[in-house]
Point group: C2
Chain length 192, copies 2
């Protein structure tokens, strides 16, 4: 998606060869108009597919998922929480997810009442690199008995193994910007 | 706002006399069409006020803030993070916030580059009870030199002291549903 690639080039900051900071427009300061366009792009890519629910994970996936929901008929958006809170009681689906960014293991949980066997779920998240978070969300969808339509990712780092490995397993993933390589010196190279 | 009050009555769950669970539509499963209407309501309430930026705090404020941004000309939305992450370096505004829900003290932080002295900020959050989170966000806005237009709250528990105390200090707060009292037996009583 050229709009997103251009924005990454103009406002993203590469640190080393693995970290891309996009806090200026994607995951701390958020350009909601851009997210709305991203939603329309996923809607086109998943043309013909019924989506009854969008699933994401806190915190930075929430904004993109909610703005994208407009293109999917304002379907409900559910986010997985990373820790149990006093207000979440009862039965939950859960999965363990290792965060390479924070170097900790998180439990991600979704109350069972928000994912039903009749649902057709699109998973949306900001980044795909090692695929840990996505695997956790996919396992939650499978556990719920809902159908997984596929995944919508804003930025995929194709030089990391998550996307290739999940596609080999038959998971459909539509990433709007695919980064093949990046470095502070040479900048960002997108997949063609 | 009748739309929100009706939704709280139909889908909210009161536990004891202090906890209101609205995970079904507000802060875990999210009704984005409702949030869009809430944004329009805040836009009416703040009629004539220029808003250049919306500030909220992760996680449950993000969705409401982003959907509300549409009514404010798709202005950028910034969320305060609750802990430092590896990707957030450099200068940040910060405030200490006590969470009564989780019974812990959090540091909330916003990178300085996302709040400027020229900004006119609307703070949006899901709940106002003791006002701790809101106080943290307000102090961050003041520290940044930006102008605070006011606060937009989805649900205020007026039987807890946060709102009254902040209004006494001259902070403008527009809450779309104000709960005067609630209990499992008698249900929810809204302010008139």
């Amino acid at each position: 998606m050229k709009l997103l690639e251009d924005r990454i080039k103009s406002d993203g900051v590469v640190i080393g060869t693995e970290i891309l900071k996009v806090g200026a427009f994607l995951n701390q300061q958020m350009d909601v108009a851009l997210f709305r366009e991203m939603g329309r792009e996923w809607r086109k890519l998943y043309d013909g597919e019924t989506v009854t629910k969008i699933l994401t994970v806190e915190a930075s996936g929430i904004a993109i998922a909610c703005m994208a929901a407009e293109a999917f008929g304002d379907c409900p958006v559910v986010f997985a929480k990373k820790t149990k809170t006093r207000n979440v009681a009862g039965d939950v689906y859960s999965a363990s997810v290792y965060s390479f960014t924070h170097m900790v293991m998180n439990e991600v949980i979704v109350p069972k009442e928000y994912l039903q066997p009749g649902d057709r779920v699109l998973i949306i998240d900001d980044f795909l690199a090692n695929g840990e978070a996505l695997r956790g969300l996919i396992s939650i969808v499978k556990e719920s008995g809902a159908a997984l339509v596929g995944c919508g990712i804003a930025i995929e780092k194709t030089f990391q193994p998550g996307g290739a490995s999940l596609r080999e397993e038959g998971i459909r993933i539509e990433s709007l910007a695919k980064i093949r390589a990046m470095s502070e010196d040479t900048g960002i190279v997108f997949e063609k």
